[in-house]
């Protein structure tokens, strides 16, 4: 910045416009009104709406979100499908529910980046000095991401249907499965938000979550069934929250859901939130 004392001369001081002044005064009088504050959940929704304003302004990020599942579905079905399952059509029936989960996992990583950017900008200081429920910003951001998860997963399912995916669970099964996927993505996103609050640069989050996300995705049953794997690996894969969700989603879409699979998937979600939710809020509330 320029050195001190550069305010050269008093010649411009006469510009205080009376019109501007009167309008500001009038606006300040309106500001005397103090409506009752919204509740905590209403605040979350306001923050969610704020995030959606941004998506509306920048549809590019939705396009990115949708492109990924298309690519993965095509590549895995036609390149590897025949080799893995004997026919691309058979493999598609197995793969597609997994692709939906894979897609939201990849998209959820952006949440950490977005949060990292959000908390290092001046607007965050404003929010934190306002009388608002502090986690509302976090929850709102995560809720708005559900919109992106939903769009991407619907695109993945539609593409699957086009290529020959036939879910025996019917519409109800698919809708229930998609709902399950949204809950999972919302839960998993808390991991990235916590990461987004400890790391200093957005690029670092991409690197770190990239490293973390690959074992999570590949040590799961997204691409292949676990039957051919050694027992210890099966054990590891079975506790992976991704596996829990994929199994439940597969069941729902295929029309043979089991209570055990669905329950364990929700337990995995609850564990994620129970650990990373409070951690994120703690990290957010701490002095920065």
């Amino acid at each position: 910045m320029s050195g001190p004392g550069t305010g050269g001369g008093g010649s411009v001081l006469a510009l205080d416009g009376d019109g501007l002044d009167a309008a500001v005064r009038s606006a300040l009088r309106t500001g005397e009104e103090r409506p009752p504050r919204p509740g905590a959940f209403a605040m979350c929704l306001i923050f969610c709406q704020r995030a959606l304003f941004k998506i509306r302004r920048d549809p590019q990020q939705v396009f990115d979100a949708v492109l990924f599942p298309v690519m993965v579905t095509l590549v895995f079905t036609f390149l590897f499908g025949g080799a893995i399952a004997g026919s691309t059509d058979l493999y598609l029936q197995f793969l597609l529910p997994g692709v939906v989960v894979l897609t939201v996992v990849m998209i959820s990583m952006n949440t950490g980046v977005a949060l990292n950017v959000a908390v290092s900008s001046g607007i965050d200081d404003r929010f934190r000095s306002m009388p608002i429920w502090r986690p509302a910003m976090l929850v709102g951001e995560l809720l708005s991401d559900v919109v992106r998860y939903l769009m991407a997963s619907v695109v993945a399912v539609l593409l699957g249907l086009l290529l020959g995916f036939r879910p025996h669970g019917g519409l109800l099964g698919v809708v229930a499965a998609l709902a399950m996927v949204q809950v999972f993505a919302f839960s998993l996103a808390w991991v990235w938000t916590a990461l987004g609050l400890v790391v200093d640069k957005p690029q670092t989050i991409m690197t770190l979550s990239g490293i973390g996300v690959f074992p999570l995705l590949f040590a799961s049953n997204i691409f292949v069934s676990t039957h051919s794997m050694p027992g210890w690996l099966q054990a590891v894969i079975n506790v992976n929250p991704v596996t829990r969700t994929v199994t439940a989603v597969r069941g729902l879409m295929a029309g043979d859901p089991t209570a055990w699979h669905i329950t364990t998937a929700f337990v995995a979600d609850a564990v994620l939130i129970a650990i990373f939710g409070p951690l994120t809020v703690y990290l957010y509330n701490r002095e920065r």
Partner: protein
């Protein structure tokens, strides 16, 4: 419990450290409601950290701070419902339009959607931002962004408004608009706490100015008191015709001489006695804003030393004397010059710079410390300690 206080802000022995750095080091403040308290100091002096403590963003390590009678640590929620913060780096959302920014804040403060939109529109027009309603903030100019930033703090009129360097980096016109707005805000009863690096800004706006250096308040008083402790202003004139230098010097000595302290520099290039080329302590302000070469006649001074070679430029000290009469004396001197037929190409009247204030108050120059008070998270290219 401490007795309810009538003060808008009251701190006692406030300390905030970041590692080894004592960013705020025992600050005592008492700000009366409806006044403007200025914080004047260089980067890293502790201004921003103090404001962040008062706005409940940082916890003090020791000492107490009460805002509107509420303790900033124990009653943070109560404090937050009374204050607004306009941070040093625009506290508005880059990726939202002007209108959406205000809409979201109005919603958070309890307005229903239609009323929130109406409030946004009202504020935009009050601040001359109608045309920016649907423009993303990242496409705003600095001045417009600052105005939106201030408007965003006024969705609900706060009892205390914190403005952290509201005009740093703004052009003079934008700056004067921000000043006009601040005056209007104070008139409605809001207490304003303002940090600045510009003495002139503090002078224009603040009822009391606290000069802050290395986390400590080294002077606190009205602007007149402060200026009296510092001393002099400088009147600089540029003549159309260097040949009139003799007359000009005579007039200026006559008008400003007795109590105006014309500092002399007769030796350097043998110019007339009594009038010296610019040279405040530190030698930094040099020729001032006027540009040599305006009239093409005075390029001759280039071959010698810097500015003392310009026969058309004159500069003299005008002591203020604490009565504000320095400006009047300077005005009279200028009028006299005109009356005597001296044609001026340009003139400036300069207040003592922040550096001069510092020199007068501390005996050392204003210096920038590491930006400990900033967010450590954001990559900060100037993060190093370049002080002392």
């Amino acid at each position: 419990m401490a007795p309810a206080s009538d003060l808008a802000i009251e701190t006692s022995g406030l300390v905030k450290t970041f590692g080894e750095t004592r960013a705020v080091d025992g600050v005592d403040l008492a700000v009366r409601p409806g006044t403007v308290q200025g914080f004047l100091g260089p980067n890293g002096a502790g201004k921003t950290t103090t404001i962040r403590v008062l706005a409940t963003l940082l916890h003090p390590d020791s000492g107490t701070a009460r805002v509107c009678g509420h303790d900033v640590v124990r009653e943070a929620a109560a404090v937050r419902s009374k204050v607004s913060l306009t941070g040093q780096f625009a506290s508005v959302d880059e990726d939202l339009s002007g209108s959406d920014n205000l809409f979201v804040l109005a919603r958070l403060l309890g307005y229903k959607p239609p009323q929130a939109r109406a409030r946004a529109t009202e504020l935009l027009s009050a601040f001359g931002l109608e045309e920016q309603a649907d423009v993303l903030v990242k496409n705003f100019s600095g001045g417009l962004r600052r105005r939106l930033d201030v408007a965003a703090s006024l969705v609900v009129r706060p009892d205390v408004l914190f403005l952290d360097e509201p005009t740093t980096g703004l052009d003079p016109v934008s700056r004067s608009r921000v000043w006009a707005v601040v005056r209007a805000i104070v008139d409605t009863g809001t207490t304003v706490v303002l940090t600045t690096q510009y003495l002139e800004e503090a002078d224009q706006l603040a009822d009391r100015i606290a000069v802050i250096d290395r986390g400590r308040i080294i002077a606190d008083g009205t602007s007149d008191e402060l200026k009296a402790s510092v001393g002099s202003n400088a009147l600089r004139v540029r003549l159309r015709d260097p040949a009139q230098r003799g007359i000009a010097v005579r007039v200026l000595e006559r008008e400003l001489g007795p109590d105006g302290e014309i500092t002399a520099d007769t030796s350097r290039r043998g110019h007339s006695p009594g009038v010296q080329p610019p040279g405040p302590p530190g030698g930094r302000t040099a020729a001032g804003p006027s540009d040599a070469g305006h009239d093409g006649t005075n390029n001759g001074g280039r071959e010698g030393g810097p500015h003392n070679g310009d026969p058309a430029a004159l500069s003299m000290r005008v002591t203020d004397g604490g009565d504000g009469k320095g400006v009047e004396r300077a005005t009279r001197a200028l009028a006299e010059l005109t009356r005597e037929g001296v044609a001026l190409a340009d003139f400036t009247f300069e207040r003592p710079s922040l550096d001069e204030v510092f020199l007068a108050l501390t005996g050392h120059h204003a210096e920038t410390r590491g930006k400990a008070g900033r967010k450590g998270r954001a990559a900060d290219p100037q993060g190093g300690r370049d002080g002392s």
